[in-house]
Subunit: 221 residues, 2 copies
Amino acid sequence: MIEKEIRVAVIDDEASIRESLRHWCNWQTGFQCVGAWQTVPDALAAIPWIQPQVLLLDLHLADSESVESIPALKSKVPDMAVMMLTGEDDYYWVEQALQRGADGYLTKKNATDLLARAIRDVLLGGSPLTPDVSRKLIAAHINASPDSARLDQLSPRERMVIAKLAEGMVYKEIAEHFGISIETVRTHSRRIFKKLNVGTKTEAVLKYLKSIRPNGAPPGC
Amino acid sequence: MIEKEIRVAVIDDEASIRESLRHWCNWQTGFQCVGAWQTVPDALAAIPWIQPQVLLLDLHLADSESVESIPALKSKVPDMAVMMLTGEDDYYWVEQALQRGADGYLTKKNATDLLARAIRDVLLGGSPLTPDVSRKLIAAHINASPDSARLDQLSPRERMVIAKLAEGMVYKEIAEHFGISIETVRTHSRRIFKKLNVGTKTEAVLKYLKSIRPNGAPPGC
DNA sequence: ATACGGATCCCCCATTTGTGGGACTTTTGG
DNA sequence: CCAAAAGTCCCACAAATGGGGGATCCGTAT
């Protein structure tokens, strides 16, 4: 039945926490820790071979590294669940993490007694959040369109570029339109993709249209 | 100054008209006829080498061949102007031709006295239309979304595919979603592009969204 | 002064896309 | 039943795209 144990991996730069999570997993029945890395790059290199089902990701890795890396991590193992672990419940990071594809978000203080259940929940498609997190999430969601805000992260030039993308123009046409190199357009697009957290022109355009007219004015306007 | 003459080409299956247009061009000062073909395939083979500036295209080639071929012709010589010539002013064909990239549309009866000016106009970026044509164009435009009709030219499967494209999915994802080969998805897409008269996924999605909700409901609905 | 974001451009590389064929089976409408 | 349309799959090739670097220049903020 070692085959049926839930394969859990850990990323935490703090050795003590990392190790205690590892030991906790292996001690719990039904879980096995298949990896525990200190840094995201280490994990990125390993998880494609390890194929964990759940990744416990510490929010406290140097500044925003952990949150930024969620898309990359999930792309390596698409149906791996990412569970954020954090000490504080700074809502800014909650939002950032969830927008980037985190599946759960637990504050560490009450993590240990909830973690086993949370891991099982997340594998069943749930989004386990500790109560303090979900309270803030709900509060923020009643009046905010999470994606619209992303647009003002775009620089003026990037806005001009995505506007043209949203007219169906290809890179070469946009370059000619603005009298710049196609390489510049590609650079702008790559940054737009990163900021909008998408991977293709079409996805970017869809998010752009949603953001620019959440109420739904015709594309021609 | 033979270099500064406007290079005109003709496609017309009726020999008498074709020849009279050729002679007319060469007789007019400032024009030279650089080609006169009976069929579209003949022209397609020749124009890349000839590089005409203006192509006079008879609408009366066997059924829809001439209109259908406008995109192909323009793709061979991207900045060549295509001027439609027709006896009648059946608005259906006017619309079809303009949608496919025709730059001008003249009815033959009053063509000869306007043709010289129309050719010069079209090269300056204008869209010369005989009055009867423009009247119908305007009438049709006040209350019609010309593109919406195009969607029901799509087969059921093609509609399913473009619906997924409009969710930002890439070919491989669509293939997996429907459990078919990526080649099949590509084939569907090619036919969708042809029917919607576009060249890229993004353009297709934009037309699709416009057609599916001309009033502009949010993409999420 | 110097660090930083924005804008510009360049190279490389793997993958995806767009386009042209062709071919086979299954529906479907006369 | 037969022809047309739809759906499926394949090959091949050029172009476009999506990332990954890195580099330069210019303002502005620190």
